[in-house]
């Protein structure tokens, strides 16, 4: 079945600039494999050897697939898949923080 997949800006280099592409499959996993056949490299930005990448959000209609079946989430005609990289970060590993001493930690 034909599933519309909305692509975030940062991944549009794989789709020739298109913000939405159509994929075929009855699960999310199948659709991603199908898309990769026409847009090589796209799938690897979304999935790694352990499954869905931690900082890439994938939704079917309004739901984050992490709360549904993950890559195995079933799809039906008319469903829309949306991919959005997480907006995240933090002070870990800043250039000064990396060399900043830890305060006295617990004795060991």
């Amino acid at each position: 079945m034909a599933i519309e997949v909305r692509i975030p800006t940062i991944l549009r280099t794989y789709t020739g600039g298109e913000k939405a592409v159509t994929g075929d499959g009855s699960t999310l996993a199948d659709v991603l494999v199908d898309l990769d056949s026409r847009h090589p490299g796209l799938r690897e930005r979304i999935v790694d050897e352990k499954g869905l990448r931690r900082f890439v959000n994938v939704y079917v209609n309004d739901e984050d697939v992490r709360f549904m079946g993950g890559l195995g989430t079933g799809l039906k005609d008319g469903d829309t898949v949306t991919v959005l990289p997480a907006v995240a970060g933090g002070s870990a590993d800043g250039p000064e923080a990396a060399s900043a001493p830890l305060p006295l930690g617990f004795g060991s």
Binding site: P8, T9, I10, F55, N57, Y59, D62, D64, R66, T82, L84, P85, A86, V87, A88, G89, G90, S91, A92, D93, G94, P95, E96, A97, A98, A100
Partner: protein
Amino acid sequence: MLVIDQQTYDAIVAHAREDHPDEACGVVAGAAGTDRPERFIPMVNAARSPTFYEFDSGDLLALYREMDARDEEPVIVYHSHTSTPAYPSRTDISYASEPGAHYVLVSTREPDTVEFRSFRIVDSVVTEEEVSVVPTLHRS
């Protein structure tokens, strides 16, 4: 260079102070293609952490749908560091996914002063840019 109006600048700083010691985060949206940060949108840090931020995935979807409907894009993506400098960390760089945005870092590590800096992060390359705070964004 980042051109930002005083009101938006103050709103970002106030948000960072309010959420300290957790990191604060949010977006300032503007009409697509204009590079004008017009609409201040503070977001909830789902990580609620002093060293990490992440937009809740449901909030993120709602935000992007709303910007899409209004033909906007995220002009500024901001967050605060609460005990380290206002400079992108390795984590910030690896998760920066809006190549067109200005990444604003605010540091609230000092109680009496604030650090406010802006950066472009494209393909893991960080370039600092000047911040120009103006009374209002002029119509172009």
